[in-house]
Amino acid sequence: MTQRIMTNTDIQGVTPVPKVFFKDVLGMLREAQVGWFGSLMRCRVQDRLGTVLEFPNIYPYATTDTTVDLLEVVSQSFYGRAWVDSRMLNISDTHNMVADIPATKIPSYKPQAYMQAEASTVEDVEQSPSSVIQRELTRYVEKNIDILFESAEELYFEDGMETDFSRELVSLVKKYGNLAMGEIGYLVIYARVDEEVISEALRWLARTNDPSTYGWRLWILEKSLSSKSPSVRDSAALGLVFMRDAHAIPYIKKAIEQETITELRYDLQGALKELEASLDAIPATGNKQA
């Protein structure tokens, strides 16, 4: 969706040129100059205190051939009376069409899963009967997901057992695809709900057999390996084992290197060993990208 909107966007007023700091797909910290877009875009960001701010008419964008992980972007912007360091939540156009995708530019070496995830988003938007319906649908899905996650905080989760939460989560992902994943990604990555709920969600996201959201789900799981919560980090690794995708191996290795809790480092090593063994043993079926 972002690429499509960019094509129609009039880039004006490129000075002053702010910088955007981000990690590329290899995890390297990078920075790039960004330009200001015209009045066709807006972004929704969150400052360090967790306050969500709407930034009309501005949108940082990195240079071509660079992957920008939107959820990693730290944007410094003048808002109100002060400069605000903020993290991007999503981008939307004047019709409030939300582009909740992990990357704005997909280079050729980007895994297939990510290309597929973006393609689905474009398709979804093109198929929308109108922007009003799209906006209402987005709000409806977001609200349902928020309620689902909040209500799950009272539940007790047990390995191998389904709950109303897991059934509804899988159902929403299958029904609304990337639209649902945007909100789920937000709740999970920004730890907006209880860590037990996030941990449970991650494991069911891994099990969900829905090729259209494969890229999103893999990305959220890999991202969650660096969560502040040990329980979430463990569940992310377990989910990645279940997805049986070799793409996750370097992420788990990195998580092992960075892990400070001895028991969890041991569990992450176990997950890596199991993932490698399962890749050697049985080809994964079903839960793959389209």
Binding site: Y156, P230, S231, D234, E263, D267, E274
Partner: protein, 166 residues
């Protein structure tokens, strides 16, 4: 030195920088939720020879394949606290396990439960079996006839779940 086994979730038993060594975090109590002041355990032989069957017994009653985290600790440690350990019938559909290896620790106070948590934390072996191995163990017991698969299949069918037991 026979062991007692309890299914847990390992992250609830991770050490915390703010906790004294050997003390369990409060979240560990989620894995020790009593029923009528009673906690259920599985007996595991000295040489752990029945461990695969106990694991299969626990996992067979699940909705689907999943990893199994468990804590294993010396039964004597629990006996020394003064709690009563009784052999009772299990309800796992694994006949041998239900008849021989199910244990109940009854008449527990809140203090007892916290004490058990700290015993597991300090002395317990916390381990994990990944879903591939859990599934293999369950299927092995189903194939051998040790697990009565028919009521389990019915249960899965009633819940609209696919049969992963065979």
């Amino acid at each position: 030195m026979p062991f007692l086994l309890r299914a847990i979730s390992k992250p609830r038993w991770y050490s915390k920088p703010w906790l004294k060594t050997g003390k369990a975090q409060a979240m560990a109590l989620w894995d020790l939720r009593p029923t009528e002041n009673r906690l259920s355990f599985w007996y595991v032989e000295n040489d752990k020879s029945n461990l695969p069957k106990v694991v299969a017994a626990i996992a067979a009653g699940r909705d689907g394949p999943d990893k199994l985290d468990y804590a294993l600790f010396d039964q004597d440690l629990l006996t020394n606290t003064g709690v009563k350990i009784k052999q009772t019938a299990g309800d796992s559909y694994h006949k041998e396990a239900d008849e021989n290896w199910h244990r109940d620790v009854a008449e527990l106070s809140a203090e007892n439960v916290a004490e058990i948590a700290n015993i597991i934390m300090e002395h317990g072996i916390k381990d994990r079996i990944f879903d591939r191995d859990v599934t293999r163990l369950v299927k092995q017991e189903v194939t051998s006839g040790a697990i009565d698969v028919y009521p389990l299949k019915d249960r899965l069918k009633k819940k609209g779940l696919s049969n992963w037991l065979e």
